[in-house]
Symmetry: C2
């Protein structure tokens, strides 16, 4: 199957989340994405989670559908191979994504000397080139101090590497925008962004910078309450927990109606001198609303509540652990057209997602496994750089490149 980006070739020198995710996003839309790593694997080769025998499920998850080249970048011949790949000719090539330190032979001026219209997207930690990861960016901007139980003073870090995931999307945005510009003008360029800047911009985009400066407010922790409107978690009679949302008028009116508490809500508004049809007033009365709603939930089981909420078209969900989600949620199984069972080398059969985007002019691309490190070394040197088997053999013998071996699939 050909994806929407069929024909595009992108070279990726990366580790961890953001740039690998960017490359995978392109691969899952049909681009030929070649990730190069040193022969012993990149910095993320062993990143947790890992299987019991040490295969990285993280690496397998973030490098699906790419081709892998294992090359010794400390040798000039290895640097030459990478440069040749990045600067290979063709209107759909000459694109390079990286979060590596690219001083010297791999920086933009050095590469551009070999291909004038090169597009390169470089992600750094901070705008000053300092190291930064999700685990440091997040505390520096305040999110952990606003997360968790009301009244607590302990910071709570999020476990999703959210800034990395967001930055990965922006790396794709930058590449596609720069390629559009190159198609129109013939000009390549270096697009640069920093993980910290992506997060800093979002702090302002979400109105939090304005809240501090215009209102003098330092947002406190508010547990699982939906900020600025109504949304809350409730424990049911069966012990399961649900999240219910009253953000929009429609959601709020539907929720109150389903619970049969219209009169009580009206009285509460009068008593508190608030207009609970306004989202901000619902926020101010959230504790009183929750006290009013809680007995309804405490008296009902999930098998009763779920169908009622679904029938009313309300916005709600249950709380699950990761394992419960994987075992219970059909969206994570091949019931979802995004997901197929495929064999991941070193791991086994797994339900694996392709791109979340479906394009109506193209058949949906099924997911592809991640490569084994160096799986495509020989193929890439042959079909992209045009090297013969003698040349490739010599590069293997001198340790400039290495060829990964795909483990035999268990019967």
């Amino acid at each position: 199957m050909a994806g929407v980006l069929a024909g595009m070739r992108v070279i990726e020198g990366s580790a961890f989340v953001a740039v690998p995710l960017a490359g995978m996003t392109l691969a899952q839309m049909g681009a030929d994405v070649i990730r190069f790593d040193r022969p012993q694997g990149g910095l993320d080769a062993h990143r947790w989670p890992v299987t019991r025998d040490g295969t990285s499920l993280f690496w397998a998850g973030l490098n699906k559908g790419k081709r892998s080249l294992a090359v010794d970048m400390t040798q000039p011949a290895g640097q030459e191979i990478i440069t040749d790949l990045i600067c290979a000719p063709g209107p759909d090539a000459g694109m390079f994504l990286t979060n590596l330190r690219v001083r010297g032979w791999m920086d933009y001026p050095a590469l551009q000397a070999r291909r004038e219209d090169l597009i390169m997207v470089s992600l750094t930690g901070t705008r000053r080139g300092e190291p930064a990861v999700d685990y440091t960016v997040n505390p520096s901007l305040g999110f952990p101090m606003a997360t968790g139980a009301e009244g607590s003073t302990e910071p709570v870090a999020h476990v999703l590497p959210a800034w990395d995931c967001i930055a990965g999307g922006m790396v794709v945005n930058a590449l596609l925008a720069a390629e559009r510009h190159r198609l129109r003008t013939g000009r390549g360029q270096l697009a640069e962004l920093a993980l910290k800047d992506v997060a800093s911009a979002m702090l302002a985009n979400l109105g939090i910078v304005g809240e501090v400066l215009a209102n003098g407010v330092d947002r406190p922790k508010a547990g699982n309450s939906l900020y600025g409107a109504y949304g809350q978690d409730f424990v049911l009679a069966c012990g399961r927990r649900v999240m219910v949302i009253g953000l929009t008028d429609r959601q709020w009116r539907g929720l109150v109606k389903l619970l049969g508490l219209d009169q009580q809500v009206a009285h509460l508004g009068q008593r508190m001198a608030l207009d609970l049809s306004k989202e901000g007033d619902r926020w101010l009365a959230r504790k009183e609303i929750t006290a009013l709603f809680a007995p309804w939930f405490a008296a009902r089981r999930l098998d009763e509540v779920g169908p009622l909420f679904d029938a009313a078209g309300l916005t709600w969900s249950i709380f699950r652990s990761f394992a419960e989600a994987v075992h219970q949620d059909p969206d994570l199984s091949p019931d979802n057209p995004m997901v197929s069972m495929i064999h991941q080398p070193g791991v086994g059969m797994l339900p694996v997602p392709g791109s979340p985007i479906s394009f109506s002019d193209l058949e949906r691309m099924g997911p592809a496994p991640a490569p084994v490190l160096g799986e495509h070394t020989e193929e890439i040197l042959g079909d992209v750089l045009g090297l013969g088997s003698g040349q490739i053999g010599k590069l293997m013998d001198t340790g400039v490149v290495s060829q990964g071996i795909v483990p035999k699939r268990a019967a």
Copy 2:
């Protein structure tokens, strides 16, 4: 200044985070993005945070640099205006982003009947079209049960609408990929994605689905520890808290060396029969490592620790509240070339970020304020649809469209 997407025109019918963020991302790269809303404002017109007089800082943050059209979509003439805008001719037009329910006149077949090569990107809650928001998607997939203090059984929701921000990036990816396809083939298409699918895919991408199925592990809460390697928060003598990272070899060796604890770490590894040069073994020994490191931090102040960590090139940060970040972090101020002080109508002067991406072939675009609702109605009807002042006046008189009034800037 012209951005990298100069000339592109995108129509946006949206509310809340993901699609508004997508439109803003395009606008901040130079596209002409027209957001249409009903005359009383969209579902997010009053979303918190708001200023004391009710202006939404959230709306202002997520709609910067767009043009705003206020139009009554319940009137056929209003539907006609929107259809004309979405289907306006030109190779750089005919692109529509939405997270609205698009049944009937605004669905893809109806619009495509007016412009054969239309590109439309539609974001829904779930793949079945059910409503979903970050606050419901997140609990359903397990993150809140893996977030917060070790041993706690209370779920902790994240306060960043992370899935929305990630989905917004994917909406941009989808649009730019589909436009690339149209340039090559002449064919438009409908690209569809669901917030829940974006999150479900990421659960697998990060290896969490594999961890459950291959390892039988349901990841427990682990406080602020960096999962699978070493990273921990420490309270200093001055009461400030820092996060320090020992994810890569380089980070770990640098950290141990700076603390002067090489011998003690070696002994700890021997005592526990672990190889602490391996990231996974550091995770298994994280509590013992933290106990070994804590006295060093407890004896030192931030003004001593910070310069030492910076000089050693380590990966670390301090914890701040939102207000501390805004007041103390130069990355959120015009010291950062991404940020400028601009006047936001109804709010005042604020440090406002533009795009986090800088493109070397173009001057960096400064940030633009968000429009007032309907600010550009007359201008859009004139310059895009070619209506004369008489026609526009009639549409105003009949309430089909309305023109927003920008409040006078306070002296």
